[in-house]
Amino acid sequence: MSGTIHDTLNPSQVRQNAMFDALRAPCYALCVTMAGFSTIARESGFDFMMTVFTSLGVWGMPGQVAFASLYSASASLIAIFFAVSLANMRMFLMVISAADMMQLKSHNLPLWKRVFWMQFLAVTAWANLGLAQQKYPSHLLLAYYQGFSLTIFIFGILGTILGFFLSDILPPEVLRVVIFVTPIYILLLMMSAGQKANRLAVLIGGALSPFFFPFVGEWAILLAGIIGGSLASFYGHYIAKWHLENVP
């Protein structure tokens, strides 16, 4: 989207705006969510360095939680590898989608730099990019993403560190309300996505996964994602024909 006042902004201003967007709410919620992961990790037998390196290297909450629970059950390395990759498979789609939104190709970055920046991609930054897309022209979205994702990454790691030592400071009554913030925040963020097909996908995918889970376990995520996404695309393309509308 272009032709807005933001056309006059330069990348460093956009990076700063993104940082402030992150500081408005999402970074604190993520900080507490990661502190929640630290608590689970500590209970599962992780030491401090392992907990921090898991957050730094995996940087995807469902995979981290799957890892911690398998670790506490003394699962094999192969089981850990497959469970974490299944839980974090969405990264693959999110990276493609984010690269498309940011027109990553046009920035001509070498492969290692593209992989480096995508290491900071997690669901909060990705969903926010969808919102930023409605405000900023696409050539500035890489700068937006850098400012936003780095800010929440720092807060997430801070949360991991603090959570390992301070998990007893917040009473559970408060902690459970704060941990509730991140999933709701991201669901609401996705429901404000510009494309109708994406909003429909959120509804179908979200409705299907709890029903699939009793039958197929963790595979429910993959199944609900593929079926929900395909149905939404199919409906949008062949029945509602949303792509023929000018305004999404």
Binding site: M50, G205, A232
Partner: protein, 110 residues
């Protein structure tokens, strides 16, 4: 509690990291091969949205850790309150606030 040694524990961390980095890497490589405005990109996007939503709903319906001390009713009240306010007000942070407040109030009342 587990019975891994020092070396095996760090190997487990390495495998967990590898299991995620692989997807990011494949994503970066694939991204430059899919045409930006084509139907495949629309499909990839809708699947990403559906899959993230699927993960979040599983977290809400079958949570672990401290969130599991609340009941499903509480969490659903919070979710639907947030969605309802979002539907009418279109204001993200305000809707988030309402959803979380509804959740907190539900825990204490119901």
């Amino acid at each position: 509690m587990n019975d891994y040694g020092f070396f095996y524990s760090w190997l487990a961390v390495f495998f967990a990291i590898l299991a995620t980095v692989i997807w990011r890497f494949i994503g970066v490589v694939m991204a430059s091969r899919i045409p930006a405005d084509g139907p495949v990109m629309v499909w990839v996007n809708t699947m990403a949205y559906a899959m993230v939503s699927a993960v979040l709903l599983l977290i809400l319906v079958r949570p672990i850790g401290v969130l599991a001390t609340t009941s499903l009713d509480h969490r659903l009240i919070g979710l639907f309150a947030g969605l309802l306010v979002m539907f009418f007000s279109k204001r993200l942070i305000f809707s988030l606030f309402c959803g979380v407040c509804a959740f907190a109030i539900a825990i204490h009342i119901i």
